[in-house]
């Protein structure tokens, strides 16, 4: 590496070792702090990024030839200005404006004053191996309700929580009117705001000039005292006086969105989770130990994400999973009736059981084919879901 950095260069300052799995691990760090790039003992080196911006054309050619000669072609990804948007996570967070493409040059180009944090894209998740693409897995569940003729069900894999590294059990068919609905972010926003505000009761209360203690008498005579004219010592312009236009009493911010908008919000949230690869279907919630570490290991091994929302049907959930998630802050279990847009947006990953999928499809599809409200749904009808 050309030594244009102060202090020891990378290769001199680090001792590398091969770990058991075949990766490169930093065994020790020697020398000045400026050359270390923040690497510590025990860090596994997965790749290296070389920025060609400050190098001359000869240096760039030398490096590329080095890669070519040693047969590293396939492991090297060359980034051009147009590809910048797809691999922003590999670059430094702070860049000079000229080095990024302008916002008018192409469709994928990012604006020049955009600052992107380095942990925005979870690279480990992008690199997790996809399940086998052969269709030998059995379809464990077909859709109960009739799928429209012009649409076909969406599919996803069924997994288990029994062992950390078990393979997929099969496929499951998901109804397109619940899990493949066109994404309307405005409806999601509306439903999220409603969920936050309809329960809100603001108890801020201030006293008006008539409620503040005192102030019934005229402080001094109208004329002749040389002072400004006043009628009461509790008027709003006085110190200690009442507030003229302050908050008045407990205020309720209750309002209801139409039932179908709220249902559509749930469907859109489920569809977006599936589309973004954050939805996982599991056969049951039986885990071998009530140890929370087992769940965290499983989540990290499978590269699911940071926070997980687990949904099951019924009042009695398996004890092991309840105990395991009790102490965990980012992994939560809820019954299927408690599923809501805010929780789905708050947690990165959504895990549904097969029964939960059936329950949700049943309940959410009923709203597409029901009559309008004749009397409240709490009273009996013949075929409520």
């Amino acid at each position: 590496m050309p030594g244009h950095r102060r202090g020891r260069s990378l290769s001199e300052g680090l001792m590398l070792e091969e770990s058991e799995k075949g990766g490169l691990v930093v065994s020790s760090v020697i020398g000045g702090s400026s050359g270390n790039h923040g690497l510590k003992e025990g860090d596994e080196i997965v790749g290296a990024t070389i920025n060609f911006d400050q190098l001359s054309k000869d240096d760039v050619l030398k490096i590329l030839k080095l890669m070519d000669d040693n047969g590293f072609d396939k492991k090297v990804q060359v980034l051009t200005k147009n590809n910048l948007s797809k691999s922003m996570g590999t670059l430094d967070s702070i860049k000079a404006p000229e080095e990024l493409a302008s916002s008018f040059s192409g469709e994928d180009a990012l604006p020049s004053n955009l600052r992107i944090p380095s942990n925005l894209v979870d690279r480990a998740r992008a690199e997790r191996p996809p399940p086998p693409s052969d269709s030998s897995l059995p379809v464990l569940r077909r859709c109960d309700a009739a799928v429209p003729v012009h649409l076909s069900p969406v599919q996803t894999w069924v997994e288990t929580l029994e062992r950390r590294d078990s393979k997929q059990l099969g496929l499951v068919d998901l109804h397109p009117d619940v899990f493949a609905v066109p994404t309307r972010i405005d409806i999601l926003h509306e439903v999220e705001l409603w969920q936050r505000n309809f329960k809100r009761i603001s108890r801020a209360h201030t006293k008006v000039r008539s409620e503040v203690r005192g102030g019934g008498k005229k402080p001094w005579r109208q004329k002749g005292s040389g002072k400004a004219r006043h009628g009461s010592i509790r008027s709003p312009i006085w110190r200690g006086g009442g507030v003229s236009h302050g908050p008045r009493g407990p205020t309720s911010f209750y309002y209801m969105l139409p039932m179908r908008v709220r249902v559509q919000g749930l469907k859109i949230a489920l569809s977006s989770k599936l589309a973004q690869d954050y939805l996982h279907v599991v056969d049951t919630l039986n885990i071998p130990t009530p140890d929370p570490q087992y769940l965290m290991d499983l989540i990290r091994y499978r590269h699911w994400g940071e926070s997980v929302l687990i949904v099951d049907v019924g009042e009695e959930l398996p004890e092991n999973i309840l105990q395991a998630t009790e102490s965990l802050k980012t992994v939560n279990v809820i019954p299927a009736i408690g599923l809501n847009v805010h929780s789905m947006l708050k947690h990165e990953v959504l895990v549904l059981t097969l029964e939960a999928v059936k329950f949700l499809e049943n309940k959410l599809l009923w709203h597409d084919e029901r009559f309008t409200l004749l009397y409240p749904f709490k009273l009996p009808y013949t075929d409520l879901p």
Partner: protein
């Protein structure tokens, strides 16, 4: 229902007798006992012999309405009222227009500001611009005028100036939607 009525009347009777005992201390004559022959005593005897029967519930249950819109019976072609079912095979077009929950074609007219007539086509899926082109062509043939249209890609609806609901409904049904 009947059981609860008897129960309620038994409660009333008990309350009635209790109230008599509470407020009537001074006026009670010791040797002559006055028994009040009201409904209470006869119902009190019947209370022990009451039987529950659920056979009459069916008269109420058959009145409870369903909550789902029923699927219409099979028709080949238009029914006597003029309603046409959608075709079995969806037409091979880049767009699709679903039926409403009452199985009708989702074309609606609107009148705003007292004189502004528009026609709205809802529930469009797929390429809405291709539908807009076809609608403009069809209405050009019909009226000879190039009508202004508005495509809303977010809600997937199409608005046309003027009232053309019957024509558009017939046209869509002919296409097989």
């Amino acid at each position: 229902m009947s059981l609860s009525f008897i129960h309620r009347s038994a409660m009333l009777c008990r309350g009635f007798r209790a109230s008599l005992n509470l407020y009537d201390h001074t006026t009670r004559i010791p040797n002559t006992t006055i028994w009040l022959r009201t409904l209470c005593s006869s119902v009190g005897e019947a209370n022990t012999r009451i039987l529950q029967s659920t056979e009459e519930y069916k008269f109420v249950e058959r009145l409870i309405p369903p909550s789902r819109v029923p699927i219409p019976p099979k028709h080949d072609g238009p029914s006597p009222s003029g309603w046409t079912p959608p075709s079995e095979v969806p037409p091979a077009l880049p767009y699709m227009i679903r039926r409403s929950r009452m199985h009708n074609v989702p074309v609606y007219t609107d009148l705003t500001h007292g004189s502004r007539k528009t026609t709205l086509v809802r529930k469009v899926e797929g390429d809405i611009w291709a539908l807009e082109k076809d609608v403009k062509e069809y209405l050009q043939q019909l009226t000879g005028k190039d009508l202004p249209t508005q495509v809303n890609e977010v809600t997937m609806t199409l608005r046309v100036k003027g009232h053309f609901d019957t024509e558009l409904k017939k046209w869509l049904v002919e296409k097989g939607f």
